[in-house]
Every structure is written in C-alpha cells, then in structure tokens.
C-alpha cells in the first residue's frame, strides 16, 4: 500500500552505528535493513570484515535512531550484540533515499 510521505517535523540527524559482538550471521544485515526501513530511516549498513563488526549510517529523528539502536541491540536469535556505539556523523554527501545494504564492493 502506498502512503503519503509525511513531513518529519523533527530535526533529522545522522549517526554512525557500530554493532559488535557475535554478529557474524550474514542475515543480520537484512535484519538491520528491515528495521531501518520500518523506522523510515535513510542510510546504509555494511559488514566491516577487518574490524569484525557491523556498521550502519542512519539518518532520521533522534527518537527513531534510538529505536534503531534498541531493536538492533536485541536483533535476531542468531546474533549477540555486545555493544552498540553511536557517534554523530557530519555527512556532506547525499544520503541514499531509503536504506540499503552495501556490499564489500561498495
């Protein structure tokens, strides 16, 4: 069903999330993407193979970024998120419309 996009009255902000712990299940990326789309956030998620963690850039109102953190900190049963680190991100570049998974090639 197509819905009108509502104007978000709140201040949008962009944050970089780092999820670490036992996060190797590749389905976790889909899970995060699904959560971000559900929350109407823009951005991307990718696996940081070198660092062994997942990182995501998400843009939206603060309350929804909090909801993003909460949902992902629990995540699917195959994953244990030990820590979530969030830091503000000054992004000059354009944010993707919607939320997507970046592959290693991206």
């Amino acid at each position: 069903m197509i819905r009108d996009t509502q104007p978000l009255m709140m201040n949008r902000q962009t944050e970089l999330f780092r999820f670490s712990g036992d996060v190797s299940d590749p389905d976790f990326l889909d899970w995060i993407c699904h959560r971000a789309n559900r929350l109407g956030l823009n951005g991307w998620v990718r696996k940081n193979a070198a660092g062994g963690f997942i990182e995501a850039l998400a843009s939206g109102p603060e309350e929804l970024l909090d909801a993003m953190e909460l949902g992902c900190s629990l995540g699917p049963i195959t994953v244990w998120v030990e820590t979530v680190v969030r830091c503000p991100h000054d992004s000059d570049g354009p944010m993707p419309n919607g939320f997507k998974i970046l592959t290693q090639a991206d």
Binding site: W31, H34, R35, R38, L39, E63, D66, A67, L70, G71, S73, L74, G75, P76, I77, W80
Partner: protein
C-alpha cells in the same frame, strides 16, 4: 520439550506461607510438574514431587519457594524486607494465560499507565516517558532501571493533584520483578512491590504480588485488593498479546526508547539462555 537448565534450576513461588494449613496439602504445577506442599504436624513445610522425591525449599518474603531442578544459588535477596517499620502484604496468586516472561515484562512498563490504569497510575495527557537509565549489572547479574519518572494522577489517597512519581525496577531472576516506588508517607523512602511468577507451562502462569510498604494506616485487605485491581487491569492485556510467548527477536515489533527496560530484560534473558516462555524466531 526440554526445559533449559537455567529455567529448571531456579526458585519459583509455590504457595503463600501463612495460608498453608497444617495437614492440608496444596498441589500446584511448576513447568509441567505437579508439586505438593504440606505443612506437617511438626510445623515443618515440605514440597514433594509427583514421584515422592523431596524438592528444594526456601521460605522467604511470605512465600514458599521451590524448584524442579537443583538451584545452585540462594534465592535473591530483597534487603528492604528486613527493614524495620515496613508492612508485608501477600496479595495472592492470579492466573494468566500468557508467558511468565510477558507478565514480568509488563510489570517493567510505565507507558501503559494512562491507558490501562487510567486515573490511578497514569492519566492523559501526561503520557510522555522521559529518558531513564537501564543497565545489566554484571556483578549481581540483574537488570536495573533507575531514574524512572512518570506522572501519577493520585499518588496517595490524600493527594488532591497529580505529581511526578519516581520508580526503580529490578529483575533479580527471569520470573521475578521488583518495583521501587516513592512512598507517599515517607517521600525519601521507597515502597517495594514484588511480582513473583510461577510458570505452569510456557503459556500459563500464576503471578504472586507481594509488598513491603511504609503504611501504618491502610486496612490490610484494602491494600491487597488495590494491588489485585491493578494486576487484573493488566491481565486482559497480557492474555491478548500476540504471540503468547515473549519474542526474543523483535522483528515483528517496534520498541522505542520508552521500551528500553523491556529490551534490556529480553537481552538479559537471551544471554542467560532463558528460553522457557520465549519465542526465538519472530513470526
């Protein structure tokens, strides 16, 4: 199904100590097993399994606690129970057709007060949940939520107007939640309300409320019935949440900051491997 060790080897409430009458055995079901509780002629209380074997026993906080496994730890401590001047109130078991974990989770929630406990614990338009602090305290292996504040329309019988009330929540065991709340007669002190849940099955439980209050005036039965009123307002919610098990994967849900305690509780259950009463894959 197999019951995970963490669920088996824990303590659960099986009776109210004061209500056990000598020579009159009571039977209850704990995670599918029938237990018999008896106060013998020598005033000793015993809990026996269906095969006749004796079960572990602890008498504390007005309740008889037992287990179908072998608890390696003592029952959690509630230091306030030993404080002088408090009044202990046993509110009795209420049966709920829901996962015991759902019952505990609901007890940790404040955002429902204006809609479910209208004009008692909350009232519109005072619905905002301010940020509060939640942590898993590794040293004691407990979930704590502190600095919780919420508008209460009538904090005490004498109160004319509503006010912000302070709360703290503590989860010392998967099926137990303890609430600390500003004591109206002693603003600097906390009243303590515990919810002790006995899983009958994964989707059915008995919940015992217990209170340790600073209150010298109220009639004991009035206190019991106030607590029963609150809990019965929650019961129809608990029996109508889908799924009946508590999801450990929140894919079908949308927790927000007001649900921080709920998420911390579920994370803690997940880490402990407490899967009894939990749904592992979201549906």
């Amino acid at each position: 199904m197999t019951i995970s060790d963490v669920a088996r080897n824990d303590w659960y409430p099986v009776a109210i100590e004061n209500l056990l009458i000598e020579g009159q055995p009571e039977t209850v079901v704990l995670m599918g097993e029938t237990l018999t509780i008896l106060r013998a002629a020598d005033d000793q209380i015993k809990v026996t399994a269906a095969d006749g074997s004796e079960c572990p026993l602890t008498l504390r906080y007005g309740h008889v606690w037992s287990s179908i496994g072998r608890p390696e730890h003592a029952l959690f401590d509630i230091p306030e129970a030993a404080e002088e001047g408090r009044r202990m109130v046993d509110c009795g078991p209420v049966r709920v057709k829901a996962s015991p974990l759902r019952v505990v989770e609901n007890f940790l929630d404040i955002a429902h007060f204006p809609f479910v406990h209208t004009d008692i614990l909350g009232a519109e338009p005072h619905t905002e949940v301010e940020p509060y602090k939640v942590e898993i305290r590794d040293t004691v292996d407990e979930v704590w939520a502190t600095k919780v504040r919420f508008f209460q329309p009538q904090a005490a019988k004498s109160a004319e107007e509503g006010q912000m009330t302070d709360y703290m929540y503590r989860v010392p065991a998967p099926c137990v939640s303890i609430l600390y709340k500003t004591s109206p007669p002693r603003p600097g002190a906390w009243d303590v309300i515990g919810l002790f849940v006995r899983p009958i099955s994964e989707e059915l439980c008995d919940a015992y409320a217990w209170m340790a209050l600073y209150d010298e005036d109220s009639n004991q039965t009035d206190l019991v019935q106030f607590q029963q009123m609150i809990f019965l307002q929650d019961r129809s919610i608990l029996e109508n949440q889908i799924p009946r098990l508590l999801p450990l994967d929140p894919k079908m849900e949308i927790p927000t900051r007001a649900d921080t305690t709920s998420v911390a509780y579920r994370r803690w259950l997940k880490r402990k491997g407490m899967t009894y009463g939990a749904q592992l894959v979201a549906r």
